[in-house]
């Protein structure tokens, strides 16, 4: 597994050990790219800052909280309305953002008074919201404002409010990952164990951790848990409620989805409260089925999980396979932020037939690369902390059929005629769950076989203009070389779900399962 040296990065030798190509028969002992090191300035890296890792990734998806950033206005503005972490309370956390709007005089004389005034104003503007998180920024960290002290003062003055302090300025770490860590630890230190759960309604109680409800992922996954009779005490943090998260210590199991951003709190919950950690995957039929089985096995309710797996597989497998036969052999670059490279690397090959030709991570650590590289195909190029030119060079040499990455790098890909899907916010998600995985496959199919790409390659000044067709459909492109029996298969079918697959979930009722204790009393 030799290191891969990019032509464009030969002049910066430090980059040499940040990319590898997975050779035949090689395992991770031969090489692993460096990870989570300081960024080389001026490379046009894709990385963000520790403030956004704390506030924008983990903090803000909490739905019933005033999210107030203490600093100049930009941090707040820039991290507002740029992600799709929805909620079932009318998206308060997306619609409203708060900033102390620190000015020069505050930098000089201190901004603690300003902070306090802001906190009181915010509670006054939204009297039904009684919870708040205040986020430090570069400026407020450097002038040394004591956020904890002000939070305590306000809590003393307003006894019905509770305030969480997140000290994670932008400079605190090589990337957003530093902020993930800081807010995980701050939450368990400050808030976990400070209230008891509103009600324990099941014998099987979990915290669902590292799940941010992108386009409704959390709601899709919660549906499975509820059908199994498992109570979700809290979700850290997508569609999650502040007070539920204060009661995390009462769960029996921590079910962890994004280990990159939220393993810290799981590890602490294990150490401090003895709650085991179980890593799961919500993406892909097999990993999701195995995940539900593992949770069920832990609680001894395997048959409940199996019933869901059987039902969902029967419903959606014919649709997934419709896409698989049409996507097999297509090359994909998995270029997300951190955890999705390993969440998707193997299963996208096994279940959709795509060949992963490259994985990259903006803020992942070596552990993420280990998992990602071990799950991707031979010859795949793995890049840590990629930059603009390396991304372009990789796309030009690998010639992927599709790239899964962020919105802005997606614009770069567009210009070299590589279709992109938004790996962070999704195109038409949710992408978790059985149906979600089919929606993902459909998005990939639509992107790869869009007639627009064929048109984009035609040079009307030099090429022969076909002129023989008035239009082309995706099926005309995807099915051209498929055998007759596959093309007209009676068992396979295209996606049949709705444009919005969440609405029904939000009004669904669930069976009640008899509790062990209750059963014993009754008996």
């Amino acid at each position: 597994m030799p290191y891969h040296e990019f032509e464009c990065s030969k002049c910066i030798p430090e980059r040499k050990k940040h990319a590898v190509i997975k050779g035949p028969g090689e395992d991770l002992t031969s090489a692993l790219p460096l990870g989570y090191l300081n960024t080389i300035p001026g490379t046009i890296s894709e990385r963000g800052c520790a403030y956004c890792g704390a506030k924008h990734v983990i903090g803000t998806p909490m739905k019933d909280v005033i999210h107030l950033s203490h600093g100049p206005i930009g941090c707040t503005y820039d991290t507002w309305q740029t992600k799709r972490y929805i909620s079932d309370n009318d998206n308060f956390q997306i619609k409203y953002t708060f900033a102390t709007d620190m000015k020069e005089k505050h930098v000089v004389f201190g901004a603690e008074k300003l902070l306090k005034q802001n906190m009181l104003e915010a509670f006054k503007a939204f009297p039904h919201i009684k919870r708040m998180t205040i986020y430090q920024t570069c400026a407020s960290a450097l002038i040394g404002d004591d956020l904890n002290a002000i939070a305590q003062e306000v809590m003393d003055e307003l006894p019905d409010v509770d305030i969480f302090v997140c000290n994670s300025p932008g400079f605190a770490g090589p990337s957003q990952s530093g902020g993930h860590h800081k807010i995980n630890i701050a939450w368990i230190n400050q808030k976990v164990g400070t209230v008891e759960p509103k009600a324990i309604t099941s014998d099987y109680v979990i915290n669902y951790v590292g799940e941010y409800n992108i386009q409704g992922d959390q709601e899709v996954m919660s549906d499975f848990f509820k059908r199994m009779g498992v109570q979700i005490l809290s979700t850290f943090t997508g569609n999650g409620s502040y007070d539920d998260l204060r009661a995390m210590h009462r769960a029996h199991l921590n079910v962890l989805e994004c280990a990159r951003s939220a393993e810290y709190i799981c590890n602490e919950l294990r150490v401090r409260y003895g709650i085991p950690r179980l890593d799961i995957d919500g993406f892909g039929f097999e990993p999701l089925g195995n995940s539900l089985r593992k949770i069920a096995l832990f609680f001894g309710i395997e048959e409940r999980a199996q019933a869901i797996i059987d039902e969902e597989t029967a419903r959606w497998k014919p649709e997934l396979d419709w896409y698989k036969v049409r996507l097999t052999g297509k090359k994909v670059c998995l270029w997300p932020g951190g955890s999705k490279l390993w969440h998707w690397a193997h299963v996208i090959h096994a279940e959709m037939g795509l060949d992963v030709v490259s994985v990259y991570t903006k803020f992942g650590h070596q552990g993420d690369m280990e998992k990602g590289i071990s799950r991707c195909e031979e010859g795949a190029l793995a890049i840590d902390d990629p930059n603009e030119l390396e991304g372009l060079e990789a796309m030009e040499t690998l010639k992927p059929d599709i790239i899964l990455t962020g919105k802005r790098p997606g614009e770069v890909a567009k210009k070299i005629r590589v279709p992109y899907l938004n790996a962070h916010g999704y195109h038409n998600g949710p992408w978790k769950g059985w149906e979600g995985w089919v929606r993902f496959a459909r998005d990939i199919y639509n992107a790869i076989y869009s007639p627009i790409h064929e048109l984009s390659r035609l040079d009307i000044s030099k090429d022969e203009i076909p002129g023989d067709k008035g239009f082309v459909t995706q099926r005309m492109l995807s099915d051209a070389n498929l055998p007759e029996e596959v093309r007209n298969s009676a068992t396979l079918r295209e996606y049949t779900g709705k444009f919005d697959c969440l609405e029904a979930l939000r009004h669904k009722t669930y069976p009640t399962f008899e509790r062990k204790a209750a059963a014993a009393v009754a008996g």
Partner: protein, 461 residues
């Protein structure tokens, strides 16, 4: 009946209208050809601004970070700039202009970016890059001063100040556009061409709306050259369309090189476009041609179809970039509408003495409020407390107010990411007047149909 210009009373911000200064400097710097700016601060200050710009224009632009981490914040991070410049120059051989844009972080710790630039100019550049044309330009944009508007204003001035050199009169006119869209530049260039005026447009960003070509990679960037910037000192005059975005550069050129200068009005609407043409005529001596009389006539004709029947007395709230807000308010008044609330998203003290705002305050014949240092809560809370509006004009960050309160909204300004292709259309000039009026009309029509309010009236008009 009265109109008051006042500051927001609350200390804090609930939903900001503007972002901070470094964003403005970054938006200005991508207008220059062969330029990649280095933002000296944390990585988010660049990453999110690049995202914001790409949300608005659906293109990616190159901007670098000095990636200041904890050690730099504690011990000083000038070394990060040195390294960033070197890495950038090595890997981007075409780059000639490198603005070094400061942030709150590096202003608070007091990094001496002028000192770094001097050091690089004496050391790295002659030693490692002999013969290569490289311009390192410090731009101070602490985030805790002003807003993205002043950041843009400062950056334009710094670029002009750095490059402008008096040589021979060029006979050209400087046109400083302010923070506009590619469609606006197209419209302005059209007017200049009609007037037969040879102009230097700062910044030449028509190419921000860049093509997807059959061969090769196309990186979006502006087309203003170093020569263009140098030549600004030799122009026969300067017109800055906006007082708050580009006004500083215009004043600099006027003071330093005695260039006849006119700042404003922003040519939004018929009346302001007329004045713009008059100003062009004044500075160049060129007549306004018959063809523009006809173009104006087409616009007037289009507006006449709409005003009395649909626009009259419609109550409007407007927010966004200050010159644009003022221009839109003036245009709305000419269209018989009633701008009820104008929001300016920063604390620039100049607003209170802005003659255009004073003129509004003196002459509007209904209650109107003008709020400075404003946020979106100033709008939403007024709606909650009973302010009745028929239309909102502003950028996409205010979209949920329109959605939740069922008030139709025309997206205008920066950013407009929740509507397709708006950057392609002008809001300035006669073409812009037509586009704006028809957008407003069609938005009102769709709302009438959606709410089933007098929707039948559109059967015949």
């Amino acid at each position: 009946m009265h109109c008051e210009i006042k500051d927001k009373e609350r200390a804090g911000i609930i939903n900001p209208i503007f972002t901070c200064q470094p964003c403005g400097a970054q938006f200005a710097s991508i207008g220059i050809k062969d330029s990649i700016g280095i933002v000296h601060g944390g990585q988010g200050c660049v990453m999110f601004v690049r995202l914001l710009i790409s949300q608005h224009l659906k293109e990616s632009f190159e901007l670098a970070s000095s990636s200041v981490h904890e050690d730099g914040a504690v011990f000083g991070a000038c070394g990060r700039v040195e390294q960033a410049v070197d890495v950038l120059l090595m890997r981007y051989p075409h780059v000639k202009v490198v603005p070094i844009i400061s942030t709150c972080l590096t202003e608070v710790i007091g990094d001496d970016i002028e000192g770094v630039v001097r050091k690089l100019n004496e050391g790295l550049l002659p030693e490692k890059y002999p013969g290569r044309e490289v311009h390192l330009i410090p731009i101070h944009t602490p985030s805790f001063v002003g807003s993205m508007i002043s950041g843009y204003d400062i950056a334009v001035r710094e670029f002009v100040k750095y490059f402008a050199r008096k040589t021979e009169p060029s006979g050209k006119l400087n046109v400083i556009t302010g923070w506009v869209n590619p469609g606006d530049v197209t419209a302005l260039k059209h007017l200049l061409k009609m007037m037969d005026i040879d102009a230097t447009v700062l910044f030449e960003i028509e190419a921000f709306d860049s093509p997807l070509m059959p061969e090769g990679n196309h990186v979006s960037h502006g087309d203003t050259t170093i020569e263009d910037l140098r030549g600004t000192a030799n122009a026969l005059g300067t017109i800055a369309l906006n007082r708050y975005e580009g006004g500083k550069a215009a004043e600099y050129l006027a003071n330093e090189f005695d260039i006849p200068t006119l700042i404003g009005p922003t040519p939004i609407g018929i009346r302001n476009t007329d004045t713009f043409l008059k100003n062009l005529k004044t500075l160049t001596g060129k007549p306004i041609p018959e063809k523009l009389v006809r173009e104006r006539g087409i616009a007037i004709d289009a507006l006449t179809d709409l005003t009395h029947m649909f626009f009259a007395d419609k109550r409007v709230a407007i927010y966004g970039n200050p010159d644009m807000v003022i221009g839109l308010a003036q245009f709305c008044l000419d269209l018989e509408m009633k701008p009820k609330l104008l929001l300016f998203g920063d604390d620039n003290q100049g607003y209170k003495t802005d003659p255009r705002l004073l003129e509004l305050a003196e002459n509007v014949d209904y209650d109107m409020e003008i709020v400075t240092n404003a946020d979106f809560w100033e709008l939403e809370n007024r709606i909650k407390e009973g302010l009745e509006l028929d239309l909102i004009l502003g950028h996409s960050k205010g979209r949920f107010i329109s959605i939740d309160h069922n008030i139709p909204m025309v997206r205008v300004g920066f950013p407009t990411y929740d509507r397709a292709g708006l950057y392609r259309h002008p809001i300035v000039g006669y073409a812009g007047a037509i586009w704006l009026a028809e957008q407003m009309a069609n938005t009102l029509f769709a709302d009438m149909e959606h709410k089933k309010v007098r929707e039948w009236s559109l059967n015949v008009w």
